[in-house]
Each structure stands twice: as C-alpha cells, then as structure tokens.
C-alpha cells in the first residue's frame, strides 16, 4: 500500500506545476487535480439540470436553464424553483458533505474503508431519527433534529472511547465498528416495537431519500458547509503531513492531536447534518473519496475532488433512481447501496489482479 502510493505520487509529479509570483510567493498546482475538480463540478451541475427536468412533468434542459436564470413561464417557475430546485440543492449539499466527511474520516483513520457510515455515524443518526419516529411519532423537523443529535452523540462517543493517550486510526475504526454494532441492535429493537406504519416510514428514512425536501433543509446545510468547508481546507496541509505517521508529522510541526480533533469534529458535523437532511445514504462517503483519488491519481486526502465527487454521485444516483423506478418509488439510498456493493466487488477484483491484496 505504502510503496504503491509513493509510486503513484512519482507518476503524478509530471502534472504538478508551481506558480511563482514576483514577491517570492509560490503555489503548488496539481494540474490534473484542478482539471478533475472542474470536470466533476461540470458533471454535478449537468446532472442537476437534467434532474430538475425529470419527473411527472418533464422540462427540457434548455427551459430549465432559462427558468433558473429567471425567464421561464409561471408554471415552470413554480415547478423548478419551489419543488425541484431545493431537492436538487439538498442532494448536491448532502453529497458534498458526505464526500468531504468521508475523505476526512478515511484520512484520519488512514484506511480506505474507514468511512463514517462504516464507523457507525449513520447508524447513530438513524437511532436518533428512529426514536423520534417510533417513540414520539415526531414531525419531519423533530426527526431531523433527532438524527442530528444521534449522529453527534455517536461521533462524540466514538472519539472518547477511542481516546487513549491520543486517538490512533486503527483504534478509531474498531471502536467505531463496535459502537455501530450496538446501535444497529438498538435500531432493530426500535423497529420491532413500532407499529407497521411507523416501521415503513422508518425504513424509508433509514435508506436515505431526497423525496419532499424543500428550502427549509437547504439553508442549514448551506450555512454549515459555508463555515466548515473553508475551515477544513485550511487544515488540509496538516492532514497531508499526518499521512506519514504521527511522529513524523509532529516533528514537521503539525499539532497532530489538535488537527485531528478539529477535523474530526468537522467531519462528524458534516456527516451528521447531511444524514439528518437526507437519511443515511449509504456508500457515498465511502466511494466518493476513493473514486476521486483514482481520478486525480494524487496522494493525500484529495478533499476538494472528494467533495465534488460526492455531489456528482448523489445527484446522479437520484436521477438514476427516478428514471429506473419512477418518481417516489425507491429512494436514492437503494441506488447508492447497490452501486456501493458493485464498487466493493470491483475493488476486490482489481486490487486482487494488481496483487495489492
């Protein structure tokens, strides 16, 4: 793994340019990564436009663009701006948060499978939501708040339980898996004590769905991303150093535990908010960073490419689920779940062929 990464980094050197200014400032620029980010953004936006045009009342892409720019007719304006745009925006933001959160977790745990849904954050948020659905028959807002509280509490518990003179990646992963197993059992119990209508609602929520999301969900997500994304990117340097191991990065001047705590809080907040908004959409957080890394062929956490990849993935998956099953039939989580399973299998086959596992 390690050697393989360094080989890849040597390969990618060719695409790295540095920008120098007369004042002595310089900026390292990975041309390939920039191109990937641009392409992924384009893909996400294209998928969004297509998704807005998809539904019981199809709208051609040109009309969608016209309406978004403010000169569509009244009917289209209502459908686009009030019904479909918020849903797509929630999809984009949730995907971006999950992609970034996943990249952070994978970098902190230093394991490509150490994503927040595997570590029990999704399960924790689900537990919070189920408590609201099953025990209190709560409204949508209460369910969202419950999920947020559940996700944050789980993240906090995992960090505390994994703490032992610092948090080591492996311990974090294993403690997360243990917590995840406990919470899964609690969720199963909550499902068995609910009546069948609540149970059906709970299962849809547990799969992850974008149905019926409106502007109310957009604003908190957007606000949080606006704060957290710059914060995370500002600390990305330290994270990159930490891939070399705690001791080396400490020697290079990174305050390892502080950066890790800060980034983990950010990752937990991103994941919990995204989960509260759309349910625990599986595998976006796991696959987005890995796919992004394969595209950029660059070592390191690849935070920005992962973010764009997450957004593109989720919106595309939502489009696929609406096209293949019809609107409102199967939630987007089913599609990402299937895609995630296929991706795991593909990973298995290719990694094995390449002799890496």
């Amino acid at each position: 793994m390690r050697t393989n990464r360094s080989i890849r980094s040597i390969r990618s050197i060719r695409s790295i340019r540095s920008l120098r200014t007369p004042g002595g400032l310089s900026l390292r620029l990975d041309v390939r990564a920039v191109a990937v980010v641009a392409l992924l953004l384009l893909a996400a936006l294209t998928a969004s436009v297509v998704l807005i045009g998809t539904g019981d009342f199809p709208i051609p892409a040109a009309d969608v663009l016209k309406t978004l720019l403010g000169d569509g007719n009244a009917g289209q304006e209502f459908i686009v701006n009030e019904l479909r745009l918020p849903r797509v925006l929630v999809g984009l933001l949730v995907g971006a948060s999950l992609g970034l959160g996943g990249a952070l977790f994978q970098a902190i745990s230093r394991n490509p499978l150490g994503s927040p849904d595997v570590l029990g954050l999704g399960q924790g948020a689900t537990a919070g939501a189920l408590v609201m659905i099953v025990l209190f028959s709560g409204s949508a807002t209460q369910v969202t708040l419950g999920a947020l509280a559940g996700g944050l509490a789980t993240g906090f518990a995992i960090y505390l339980l994994a703490w032992k003179r610092g948090v080591h990646g492996y311990r974090l992963v294993l403690v997360g898996i243990g917590v995840s197993a406990i919470v899964t059992a609690v969720n199963g119990y909550l499902l068995t004590v609910s009546d069948i209508i609540d149970a059906a609602r709970a299962v849809v929520w547990m799969t992850g769905s974008l149905d019926g999301r409106d502007w109310e969900q957009v604003w908190p997500l957007l606000g949080l991303c606006a704060v957290l994304v710059p914060l995370v990117l500002a600390n990305a340097r330290g994270l990159r150093m930490m891939e070399m191991g705690d001791d080396v990065s400490y020697a290079l001047g990174v305050r390892v535990e502080r950066v890790r705590l800060l980034l983990m809080i950010a990752a937990v907040l991103l994941t919990a908010t995204a989960t509260a908004a759309a349910g625990p959409v599986s595998f976006v957080a796991l696959t987005a960073p890995q796919l992004a890394r394969r595209l950029t062929r660059s070592p390191g956490p690849n935070l920005l490419p992962s973010l764009c990849m997450g957004a593109a993935l989720l919106v595309t998956a939502d489009w696929v689920s609406q096209r293949t099953f019809g609107a409102g039939q199967l939630p987007v989580g089913v599609v990402t779940g299937v895609l995630g399973g296929v991706y795991l299998l593909w990973l298995l086959v290719t990694e094995r062929k390449a002799g890496r596992i």
Binding site: V118, V173, L174, I182, L330, G337, L348, R352
Partner: protein, 347 residues
Amino acid sequence: MLVDSPPEQRAETAPAPPTRRAIRAFGLLVSVVILVLVALASIAIGAKALSMGQVWHGLFQDSGTYGDVVVADRLSRTVLGLLAGAALGLSGAVLQALTRNPLADPGLLGINAGASAAVVTAITFFGVTSLSGYVWFAFAGAAAVGALVWFLGGSRGATPVRLALAGTAISAALYGYLQAVMIMDDAALARMRFWTVGSLASASNAAILQVLPFLAVGTVLALTLARPLNAMEMGDDTAKALGANLNRTRALAMLSATVLCGAATAACGPIVFVGLMVPHVVRSFTGPDLRWILPYATILSPVLLLGADVIGRVVARPAELQVGIITAIIGGPVFIYLVRRRRTAQL
C-alpha cells in the same frame, strides 16, 4: 492469538502437567453444571413464572396442564438456544484460530449478514417458506460472504482491522439490500423486522430437527480440527513442518464455521458478538490450546445466549427484548474493551 495469554501459559507445550489437566477437566464439568442451571432458568423464567416443581412436572410427567404447555414451549426455545449458542461460539473460536485474528466473529465478519440476505431472498423472491428450504440459502450466503470478506480483507495478509472493515462494509451493502426489499414489500417488512434482530422466540421442534443434522456435522468437524489449528497458530511454515495439511485444514475450518453459523442464523436470525466474547473469556483460563478452547466454547456459549435470552424476557415484561439485541448490548462494550486493551502494534 498467542498474544492473549499470560507468559507462563504461552511457554507451555502440549503435554500439560496432570494436575492442570485435571483442573481443566473439572472446570469443564462445572461449566456443564452451569449450563444445566441456566437451561432450567430459561424454562422457569418468563412472562409466566413457573416453580421448579412445575418445571419438573412439565419435563417428566407431562399431563397437558397449562404449566406443562408452557414448559413444552420454553423447552424447544431453550434447546434451540443451546444449539445456536454452541454453534455461534464454536464458529467464532474456529474463525479466530483460522484467521489468527482475535476480533473475528461471524457477525462482525458479515457472515451473518450474508446468511440473512440469502434467506430474505429465498423467502421473498423464491417463495421458500420452510426452514429446511432456506437453510441451504443461508449456507450459500454465509459461505459466499465468508470468502468475499477473506479476499477483500487481504487473504493471507489480512489484519484484524482490514477483515473487520471488509466485513462491516459488506454487511452494510447487504443490509441496504434487505432494506430495499422491505421498502418494496410491506409483508416482507412485517415478518423480517423481527427476524433480522435475532430471536429465539419462534423456536419450534420442527425447526430444531431441521437444523440439528447440520449443527451436529459442523460441531464434530470443528472439534476434530483442534490439533491442526493448534499447529497453524505457530505460523504456516512451522505448521507444515509439524505435519499439518494447511489447505485441507483451512478449507475444513471454513466449512465448519460456515455450516455452524449459517444453520444458527437460519434458525434464529443474525446474532452478533456471541462468537467473539466466549472464546476470549475461555482463553483467559484455558490458555491458547484449542483442544480445550473448543469444548469450553461449545459449553459456555449457550450459557451466554440463554442467559441473554432470560435477561431479555425479564427486563421488558410482559413483552421481551430479542436475544440478538441483548448480546449486542453486552458484547459491544466487551469488544471495545478488547480493542482498547491491545497495543496498536498488535492490531
């Protein structure tokens, strides 16, 4: 796995001093007594409390009174608990030895989830309704996921972390599939939400008879593997030099673990952590010799499972908590304790 034992036991070689062997044999006897007591408790305790006299009457002088009916009902539940518990504990011990991974557990490695997904597929899409029909699906699912996790986790180079992650990731994919089935089909949801937590409540004599042959074969197979697995604990080269047939042992161990876990899951749904906890507890007083670990695990695992089942009946009277939930709530902290106790270098 050797890292678990205190130094004086690690140094020990095959012929244990007679006194120690006697103590272990005596301990085995004590374990059997404990098992019998827990089994009796499992018959006596429940929504309707029975006295020991009534239990005795029901067991040996069945005359169809209300108490006797209750005893008969709880008896099949207890027997299923005994069998499933033994199967899970034994498969956990075999998996831990086979993968040389102290955190191996059929639930954590996703083998339970594989069996569940296969059973749900059989029930929903193939219309299989009898246990004898879907037990084969459970085996196939368990075996497929077992192999998949082994490869994805890195086969020979597998570390506990990679195996556990591979198992969890595959479980997540399979549970996603289960959820999709439950969303599409309300009838499936009505049945499956009870099955997927793992419960002994639906035990019947017919079900027990159907899984019994599989469990018997798996148990005998696992117990005969103690010696070669012991040799393999010392590393592949040493084991080969000692005359163990590595590939045959691996294949048979995987087969027995799959059969045991698949049959137990088919009968009572996925139950986590029993296979993880018991071998650890056992190892703390038997040392690393599998010839003792395996029999002890076979006897003490049902103690845990039945004990958890009894607790589940007591804490939520008159309703009950499914046994799978209790084992997860007890087992999760044990797992986290095991993880925390280890130095990171050993993981």
